[in-house]
């Protein structure tokens, strides 16, 4: 089933309004393609209009003025044909004077419209020490200069991997410092897959929610439990999901959890309640006025000014009416959505639970676990270890979960080059911790027959108070 020409191409074409990710090297930025919209990327202003109609994955040069131009030739690594190189650095003196071009010279070259590759070539030709460097040092030099003077940007289709790396690199604070490999573990440990019902509680700007939705492919149900007034979903937009994905997404405010469980959910969202009562108060006098005014009008002697005033009054009342109706419709919609979410929760048959927030995970986990069927996985993320120790301990006491594990992952990148292979960075401890487990039929069994935690070793000396 090979691809067939243009039809398939259409799926890979960049369209106006698309959410994309701009990339240069290891830097990513999520943006929306809007006409004539200026976007900053790596200290440059860019207009993305020219990307529309091109294919995802295309790389562009940023022209003077910020417009995108298709890249003419792929920058191929020039083969070391007649590379003059030295053998080691014993005679290379780093006095800062080896580059003959000044900053101004380079700016002039940039203004002349020289492409990144050409500027690098100029730098090499004007470096007095270049030919004395070893071949490897020359490669490193070229790579470094390319990175600095490269003027290209690649337009990518957003996905979990790219967005998770982007958020972790750019705004880790927004996602509770969740590293992308930890996110990967969560998605797998919680067995996120199509046609399941997943509960999510996250304060990671919607990145976790979006990742879950991606892995569900629009099949199944996702219920986002949220604190406060409304769910944060900015990150979800960046994924660029098709509209039908949102039909599977529900939200439920945790401030109504008690009411839900007591069966007294009065179906009026607290967030909207204050607003609506205030508005109702607004509307009521307006309505009175409305009812009153025709009488008033008929009673008043009609003078020229009064007529104009009446006209204005009528228009204002119409507007108020329309607004009130709009608010009413919105409120009803909100109530309907809340009831739908509540119905999903009432069954207590969710298939998975994912928690990743700045809140203390223990009360969240213990409360939300009740909504899962038995034999279903859950994954809880915390930036810190101690809260998860508490979760583990409490779960052991209360029962209802097996296979509990507290883990974190170490991620190590490698540079792989001939004769130059070695690890790069060790990102340890910066990715957060996970607690994972599986629910089982709960029965409050304090002190199981087969304890999982080995008994603490007895002290040889007399110990324990009293």
């Amino acid at each position: 089933m090979a691809d067939t020409g243009d039809d398939d191409d259409d799926r890979y074409r960049i369209k106006e309004g698309d959410y994309v990710v701009l990339k240069r090297g290891d830097i990513y930025k999520s943006v929306q393609i809007l006409p004539k919209k200026k976007v900053i990327f790596e200290k440059q202003w860019i207009f993305l209009d020219n990307a529309v109609g091109c294919l995802y994955g295309d790389t562009f040069e940023i022209g003077a003025g910020g417009g995108l131009q298709p890249q003419n030739t792929k920058t191929t690594e020039s083969p070391p044909d007649s590379k003059v190189a030295g053998t080691d650095n014993r005679n290379i003196i780093d006095d800062g004077k080896s580059q003959k071009l000044t900053k101004d010279d380079i700016e002039k070259l940039k203004d002349q419209g020289l492409r990144g590759q050409e500027i690098v070539q100029q730098l090499i030709e004007n470096s007095s020490t270049f030919s004395n460097k070893t071949g490897y040092a020359q490669d490193k030099y070229i790579k470094k200069k390319k990175k600095k003077y490269e003027n290209t940007v690649t337009v990518l289709r957003p996905n979990c991997r790219i967005l998770a790396m982007m958020y972790h690199g750019r705004e880790p604070g927004k996602i509770c410092h969740l590293r992308y490999d930890t996110l990967a573990q969560m998605l797998t440990l919680a067995n996120i897959h199509a046609n399941s019902k997943v509960l999510v509680f996250e304060t990671c700007a919607g990145l976790v929610l979006g990742s879950i939705m991606e892995r569900m492919g629009g099949f199944g149900t996702v219920i986002q439990m949220f604190p406060g007034e409304g769910p944060v979903r900015a990150g979800v937009e960046s994924f660029g999901f098709p509209a039908h994905f949102y039909e599977t997404l529900h939200e439920f405010p945790i401030c109504h959890l008690n009411a839900l469980e007591a069966g007294t959910l009065n179906k009026r969202p607290v967030a909207g309640e204050k607003e609506s009562t205030a508005e109702e108060e607004e509307v009521l006098p307006g309505a009175d006025q409305q009812d009153g005014s025709p009488d008033d009008q008929s009673m008043e002697t009609v003078s020229g000014d009064a007529k104009v005033q009446d006209q204005k009054q009528k228009e204002e009342e119409k507007r108020r009416e329309a607004k009130a109706l709009e608010k009413k419709v919105k409120l009803e919609e909100k109530q309907r959505k809340l009831a739908a979410a509540a119905a999903q929760l009432d069954g207590r048959n969710a298939d998975g639970l994912v928690i990743a927030s700045r809140f203390h995970p223990c009360p969240v986990l213990l409360r939300l676990l009740r909504f899962l069927s038995p034999s279903r996985p859950f994954a809880v993320y915390s930036q810190y270890l101690e809260p998860l120790i508490e979760c583990y301990t409490k779960l052991k006491e209360q029962g209802g979960a097996v296979g509990l594990k507290v883990t974190d992952t170490w991620l190590r990148h490698y540079q792989v080059l001939p004769n130059r292979t070695h690890p790069r960075l060790l990102m340890s401890g910066g990715g957060g911790y996970l607690l994972s487990g599986t629910t089982v039929a709960s029965e409050r069994s304090a002190g199981s027959l087969q304890s999982e935690e080995p008994a603490p070793k007895r002290q040889k000396l007399k110990d324990t108070l009293g």
Binding site: F219, T409, A441
Partner: protein, 300 residues
């Protein structure tokens, strides 16, 4: 029951996972009239399993108990019968995300091995994706096909018994992602490139040895792959423990003048200790499974 969809109750011919305790799980083929021996006694399928809810506690003949769990790829990975060294969940999770796998993805994999990764891929790409998996060992490929059938995922997978280095994956231009876990992945890079869609796709190669990594990275570069990235993921487990740390005894308090509040604060008893919850690393950590090389095939 299937490995890609949950069900509530245990039925005849299901594959269920018996949870015996800390880190101890075993798979069971549920059958009317059958019995399973465990260290806690016998489990009789007809009375103890069939019709019970997944997640239930089952008391065995000797009096001990176990839990019966619905199978998931993660539980399967730690309970499946090994025919080869397998990939574990930590690497599998990383691979899944870095290959951009999701419902509808078309994936090519070789070698199938014991099917640990295969099951995880199937779970992620269901219900609209497909896995083409290649295994050059005849018995292993047959065993894998058998298991996929028992696990009710056959419709999502095609198993081919051939040598991927010579004959490729059996399909071309269809894959969103290719995964290689073979001794000489550089020999299969060409076939991997052919299997991937013209619009591009992702590739991952898993190798225990750095020399394999180097040769593979070179082959990938030669074939025009981009964004070549090599990494490894290590799992660190934190075992939660209660520990008791004794406090030192410095002898009876010998101050010359009696403190005004000496009566209110009695000296700490010499046999005191502080008890607390903390974590310790396990005795041995798996320090290395393999290197993961990821790359992107650009549009051709």
């Amino acid at each position: 029951m299937s490995f890609v969809e949950y069900s509530e109750c245990i039925q005849d011919s299901d594959v269920a996972i018996i949870y015996l305790g800390h880190n101890s799980v075993m798979p069971v083929k549920v059958q009317h009239g059958a019995q399973t021996q465990t260290r806690y006694g016998v489990i009789r399928h007809s009375s103890d399993l069939i019709g019970q809810r997944y997640g239930s506690k089952v008391t065995c003949s000797k009096g001990g108990w176990v839990y019966v769990l619905h199978p998931t790829p993660e539980l399967w990975t730690v309970s499946l019968p090994h025919r080869t060294q397998i990939l574990y969940t930590t690497d599998i999770a990383t691979i899944t995300m870095m290959l951009d796998l999701k419902p509808g993805s078309i994936v090519c994999e070789s070698g199938t091995g014991s099917g640990s990764l295969s099951h995880a891929i199937l779970r992620t790409i269901a219900p609209t994706g497909h896995l083409h998996t290649v295994e050059f060992h005849k018995q292993r490929s047959e065993k894998a096909a058998e298991e996929f059938s028992e696990h009710r995922v056959s419709h999502l997978v095609t198993v081919r018994n051939q040598d991927v280095c010579k004959d490729g994956f059996g399909v071309t231009g269809v894959a969103d992602a290719v995964f290689l876990d073979i001794p000489s992945p550089w020999e299969a890079v060409g076939h991997a490139k052919a299997a991937l869609k013209k619009h591009g796709g992702r590739l991952c190669s898993f190798s225990p040895c750095i020399e394999q990594v180097q040769r593979t990275a070179e082959a990938l570069t030669d074939h025009g792959f981009e964004e070549i990235n090599t990494l490894e993921v290590l799992l660190r487990v934190h075992d939660v423990r209660t520990v008791s740390l004794p406090l030192p005894d410095y002898g009876p308090d010998c101050s010359a003048h009696p403190e005004p509040d000496a009566m209110e604060t009695p000296p700490p008893p010499s046999h005191a200790s502080i008890s607390m919850k903390t974590t310790t690393p396990p005795r041995e950590l798996p320090g290395h499974t393999g290197y993961l090389i990821f790359a992107t095939k650009p549009r051709t």
